[in-house]
Amino acid sequence: MTNRRGVPAPHPSAFRAAMDRFGHRLRLRARHWPWILVRTILVVGISYIILYPILVKLSVSFMSREDLYDMTIRWLPKHPTLANFQRISTLLDYGKTLSTTVLLSGASTLLQVGAAILVAYGFARFEFRGRRFLFLVVMLTLIVPPQTYSMTSYLTFRYFDPFGLLTALGIGRVSMINTPLPILLLSATCMAAKNGLLIYLMRQFFRNMPLEMEEAAWVDGAGVGRTLVSVMLPNALPAIASVLVFSFVWNWNDLYSAALYMPKMQLLPILLSTLPSRISTSFGGWSNIDFVSISVLSNAGSLLLLLPILAFFLAMQRFFVEGIERTGLTGL
């Protein structure tokens, strides 16, 4: 028995079973409705708190001057305009600044994640003397506030000469300030902001993976590198995805190291942290501009910082949540 499109019609009893299931769900829902109501209110309320700043920024930065002074307008501008964004993006040299920031954040992310994978694998699967101590130190780097050693760390890069090696080679001390080198070096050696957490997450994941697969690969003649690349990594993709997201977000928002090591580079967080004074300069001084315009332009500017990272997060979100659920974060 088929219907018009050639799809077999369901057996009558299947329909009744479906109706039963539906009725059961309705009865369940009826029993739980106070909780569902409370849950909905909570979820909507908290979502509103989180989204409120973004919504305000969005609403304000599209407003033209007359809309701002119009007291009847709360959220939706009557005369939407892109003028604020245009002004800010010329002020920030947005195209170039954005690409520099993306490139630098991307490069440090790749270095950090690559290094974290290697180190975490080393910690998870190899016995060597001093392993516990070294791991403890890595965790310690998370507790120490960066301000404790930022001054001396700055000096290290200002007069870069590890163990007198460069002097011995006849190059002398090298200043790395205002170049991306410090942040790239720190990323490659797992010492950039919060890198210990990446190592911790990856190590937990590797530890929870069954040993049998690796042993099988060893028996089949694969070397250590081959085992890592062809056996461990494909299975670790969810964890790698979530570590990647964390790392990129933290790099993107890391104003502190950017301002310390490369204050003169054209990076979004640096330019934005001094945006109000930049705006006033572009108008020819504080006297030529009112506070409302500065506020509106600042909001447009912070959207320009926020939107790329939001887009990245939304694109990666599916892997992110799934990955973090599987990192084995739970087995402390």
Binding site: I46, S47, I49, I50, L51, P53, I54, V60, M63, L68, A115, L118, V119, Y121, G122, F123, R125, E127, F128, R131, L134, V137, I143, P145, Q147, T148, Y149, S150, M151, T152, T156, P162, L186, T189, M191, I199, V249, L255, Y256, P269, L272, S273, L275, D290, F291, S295, S298, N299, S302, L305, L306, L310, L314, Q317, V321, I324, T327, L329, T330, L332
Partner: protein, 305 residues
């Protein structure tokens, strides 16, 4: 005749292990250990900048004494950071645990809601924070001139609420507490992104069979929550508490970090700044140590009875 050196499998594996952790070994020595030791040396010296570079003169505990007993603000600001952390940690921990149980249930639009609840992780930008704080000032000033106060930030709204409550006859401290509590709700939501994630991961990893077995034995949902979910998640309580403590002490907006920063880079008193940050670091270490000790005794481990 040269004898070939025999390397056992264990030794070989240990060597490979060193190769794998080499990046972090280099980093810990060059970019962590060395600067830390230098900063410790700074904290016991008076630091001068000459044309040749940095000149250190040994000063004993002078910087530490200055930080603790001479500086007008340091003690008070550190105490405030500590108090803030102690208030925030339990609130954030329970809030994020609660939110995680919410997100762990099945309901329509769960994926969207999860995405929204993780946005605070993305929006934690210190550049953005600096901009918004500047903006609040401007808004209050703007509203005095009759501009759209509610537009650029809730600051205007908050002021309006404050005034209307005082006019309604409520005592001022009560009103201030209500207003600061609502302000805290915003902060707490924004600070608990990572913790929600930690708890959610934990909740997902509790095997369903445990609940099913309990249901057959006749336990209720309430029993399940307190006798299964809570103990099973307790190791993650430890993780979340420690993360919150560290995050709150080292967050970009922290006042103590600001005073350390200013002492070094604005007042050029590097020795004092180093002493202040070492004291602060010792305080954090002490607190983290105590909390870890207390909580590990209470935590339930499935595989270690």
């Amino acid at each position: 005749m040269k004898r070939k050196r025999v390397v056992s499998l264990k030794q070989a594996k240990a060597r490979i292990g060193y190769v794998f952790v080499l990046p972090t070994l280099i980093g810990v020595v060059l970019f962590f250990g060395y600067p830390m030791i230098r900063s410790l040396a700074f904290s016991f010296s008076s630091v001068g900048i000459t044309e040749k570079g940095i000149a250190l003169a040994f000063a004993g505990f002078g910087n530490y004494q200055h930080a603790l007993f001479v500086d007008a603000n340091y003690r008070e600001i550190v105490a405030r950071s500590l108090l803030d952390t102690l208030i925030n940690v339990p609130v954030i921990t329970f809030f994020s645990f609660f939110v995680a149980t919410l997100l762990n249930q099945k309901f329509r639009g769960r994926f969207l809601v999860r995405t929204i609840f993780f946005l605070p992780i993305v929006m934690a930008s210190s550049a953005l924070m600096a901009l918004d704080q500047g903006d609040l000032l401007q808004t209050v000033m703007g509203s005095a001139q009759g501009f759209k106060e509610s537009a650029a930030f809730g600051g205007g709204n908050r002021l309006a609420v404050l005034y209307s409550l005082i006019e309604a006859g409520l005592p001022r401290p009560v009103v201030e507490y209500i207003v600061s509590a609502t302000a805290r709700i915003f902060d707490i939501v924004m600070l608990s992104g990572v913790q929600v994630l930690i708890f959610l991961a934990g909740l997902q990893s509790i095997p369903r069979s445990v609940y099913e077995a309990a249901m057959i034995e006749g336990s209720t949902a309430w029993d399940n929550y307190w006798k299964i979910t809570f103990p099973m998640i307790s190791p993650l309580m430890l993780t979340a508490v420690l993360y919150t403590v560290i995050d709150s002490f080292t967050a970009a907006g922290n006042e103590t970090l600001a005073i350390i920063q200013n002492t070094a880079f604005r007042n050029q008193n590097f020795g004092l700044s180093a002493a202040m940050s070492w004291l602060y670091f010792l305080l954090i270490g002490l607190l983290v140590g105590i909390l870890a000790l207390l909580l590990t005794r209470w935590v339930f481990y499935y595989d270690k009875p």
